[in-house]
């Protein structure tokens, strides 16, 4: 396709470092932008000591002269982290497609016990308490009271330790035992066949002990297997003597050599990683983004003047909590360029064949957090000063770092900016946050040589911007003209002052 052939013909991109970025709405990829030195939200610049959720590792591929994965470059430094489980609104009854969230019983950061009530929802005639299937820590709410939540939509995310992650993760319990009517009925039908009669909690306990419930005698009503039955059975099998290999007179192998043998073998065994939490959301968003025909426009921007502006701002800044970086200027200039080219700040509805030109420039900034990648957005950039953008960016970064971003912070973005250059790499190839129509990836600013007007060679700081656009809505000319406008504002930032009202 046209867009791809243009991209492939640019041999410089094939030989350089290229990122394939996955921009997504909630949550999304990459870190907050800085400039030369990736000081960021800190998660990647301090990768040696900061635990990074494995979903990020799987989110990025670095295509260098040698193809390798980001995860391999920092794998040695990563610590194993807890699993993040999305808890959806489970089916609360036949024919119920959605519920109203009434209130939360917990807060972000709270430790929750298994079966502890998390929230209350209302479906038609009933208020229903939703309890937790897991013990863990509340990471993020995806809805606020008053929201109408569809069945199956994620309510909140909880971090749990790996031992709790079962194969059918992602279901909340409206009540403590059954997860949904159909599942419950299938459990009941199982019991009617004469198989194990037990609750999900007991089955989970048996799984943890590696016990087949069919082997456990139940002492409850109608032969129901209770928790004590499982624990007693677990104790009884521990006390059994070791099996002797029936095919040989020799005793079984010594434990140590067996373990060693298994470890060596396990290095070469296939592993299955379940997709959970933010990565699961990313799968959904990227699948959606894959339906959008992307057009990539790449430009190099001279950041020398931007650098001087930043130094000047820093000299004037007296607030130690506010860190002045390139990004607020890039955001402000982006908004000014969008005023001239509003089509890039729109959403597309394929069903209605409509483009909705958004009045506010809600610029999403990709950030990495301890639990994954998110894209909060700075609302209504147009009337904000660069300083106000800086403060709002700092606020969102702080919340992202503390994992306290609210759905309102993440909702409503109209265009996304991704500073993958904070990690490294000359450029990226981002994917659009549907239903937005454009996303911009900024590569690392690099000092390169350039010819001046006098024919002499000078050093310049060049940053590569890759604008990915929805080719159903945006054509190359529009994106090129927009980029020219934006580039002009960045390379001559005094124009920002000239046009600011």
């Amino acid at each position: 396709m046209l867009a791809r052939s243009i991209f492939q013909k640019r041999s410089c991109w094939r030989s350089g470092n290229v990122y394939r970025l996955f921009g997504r709405r909630l949550p999304a990829s990459t870190v907050e932008a800085t400039e030369m030195k990736p000081t960021v939200v800190g998660h990647f610049s301090t990768a040696a000591s900061t635990p990074i959720k494995s979903t990020f590792d799987c989110s990025y591929k670095l295509y260098n002269n040698k193809v390798h994965y980001l995860s391999t470059s920092v794998a040695a430094a990563l610590e194993r982290v807890d699993n993040i489980i999305d808890i959806p609104l489970a089916q609360t009854g036949e024919g119920i497609a959605e519920c109203e969230l009434l209130k939360w019983f917990v807060k972000v950061g709270d430790e929750v016990e298994k079966y502890q009530p998390l929230c209350e929802v209302q479906s038609d005639k009933a208020t229903i308490e939703i309890t937790s299937r897991y013990q863990g820590k509340v990471i993020q709410f995806l809805h606020v009271p008053g929201d109408i939540v569809k069945v199956g939509e994620t309510l909140l995310s909880i971090s749990v330790d790996a031992s709790q992650v079962p194969s059918d993760v992602g279901k909340s319990s409206p009540t403590s035992h059954p997860t949904e009517p159909s599942k419950e009925s299938s459990d009941l039908s199982k019991t009617q066949k004469g198989e194990t009669l037990s609750t999900p909690a007991v089955r989970n306990l048996a799984n943890q002990h590696g016990i087949d419930l069919n082997d456990v005698p139940g002492t409850g009503r109608h032969g129901r297997i209770q928790k004590e039955d499982v624990l007693n059975y677990a104790t009884s099998i521990k006390n059994k003597p070791a099996m002797v290999n029936p095919s040989s007179d020799k005793p079984t192998l010594e434990p140590e050599p067996i373990v060693q043998h298994m470890t060596n073998e396990s290095l070469y065994q296939d592993k299955t990683l379940p997709i959970r939490g933010y990565q699961r959301a990313m799968v959904k968003f990227m699948t959606s983004a894959a339906t959008v025909p992307h057009f990539h426009y790449i430009e190099e921007i001279n950041c020398d003047e931007l650098w001087k502006l930043k130094v000047a701002f820093q000299k004037q800044n007296s607030d130690p909590d506010i860190k002045l970086t390139f990004l607020p200027v890039l955001i402000k200039s982006l908004s000014m360029a969008l005023t001239s080219y509003p089509l890039l700040n729109s959403t597309f509805n394929l069903e209605k064949y409509e483009v909705n030109l958004k009045g506010s420039h809600n610029v999403g900034i990709t950030m990495a957090t301890p639990v994954g990648l998110v894209v909060p957005n700075i609302k209504n950039v147009q009337p904000l000063s660069i300083f106000e953008i800086t403060k709002e960016l700092a606020r969102l970064q702080k919340l992202a770092h503390e994992n306290k971003l609210t759905p309102e912070d993440i909702r409503g973005g109209t265009i996304t900016l991704s500073n993958i250059g904070a990690i490294g790499g000359k450029s990226g190839s981002p994917l659009i946050n549907v239903p937005e129509v454009a996303i911009i990836a900024l590569g690392r600013t690099q000092k390169v040589t350039s010819f001046g007007d006098d024919g002499n060679v000078y050093p310049v700081s060049l940053m590569t911007a890759n604008i990915a656009a929805d080719h159903r809505i945006l054509d190359g000319a529009t994106v090129a003209l927009f980029c020219n406008e934006w580039k002009k504002l960045i390379e001559k930032p005094e124009l920002i002052l000239l046009h600011t009202r």
Binding site: T92, G93, E94, G95, I96, E100, L102, Y115, P117, Q122, S123, D124, K125, A126, T127, I128, E129, T131, P174, T175, S176, P178, P181, E184, S185
Partner: protein
Amino acid sequence: MATRHVAQAGRPLMNIVRMKGVPILQQLEIEECLLRTSSDNWCIINDGADRPNIVMGISGKPAELVEIKPVLEDNIPVIRRFTGGGTVIVDHGTIFVSFICNKDDVADVQPYPRPIMSWSSLLYSQVFEGIADFRLRENDYVFGLRKFGGNAQSITKNRWIHHTSFLWDYETRNMSYLKLPKRAPEYRLARDHLDFVCPMKDYISRSDFISRTIGAAGRLFSVESTEFEAVKSSSNVNFTPTSRLLTNQELEAANMIAI
């Protein structure tokens, strides 16, 4: 209060509390307290509210459900209850029946709205057997196509409440305080209140209804009477109810927003 759960023939115990003319707000407070703090099963029967009250569900919006101006003028209390569901206007002609159960004591009923609703309809079909063409239609109790009983529920971790307001009789003028709700059952077919509801008194007396209801409950539970005073006194301890009376200021503010 009784703490035994199993009495005769392996059936779980249910405490029956009969009241008459207890204010609906007080009844709701007692019910919520029993739901959240008791571990027994209860059947609360209140034979008539003391005076007309409008009772909305937990997320009811007065501007959408109530004719606020006449309600304010006539000083009709508006209550937001702790359960879901729609809006009713209750008075001395309303009979309230509430079942508060441990889900484990009704083990063959899954603790979800629909199964509980179905369970209740089976109980009441015994009450009205041979008397009227009773059925559960969507979430309402009807004779034919006319509603005489409205339901609401609250389901917690281990217990649930299913409560019903039965229109044994009603005053026509009271219906004019209610708006036609945005969300209505399909079978309502845009009928106004008077064409949609019907009084139970045309089919059964108050005392017969109450005794037959207790009888139907007795087939599922081992029923035992408990005095209202005993319930009333113990329910005030360390519990903050959700159901509350809306203030005039709130109603006025809602009216302003609606305008």
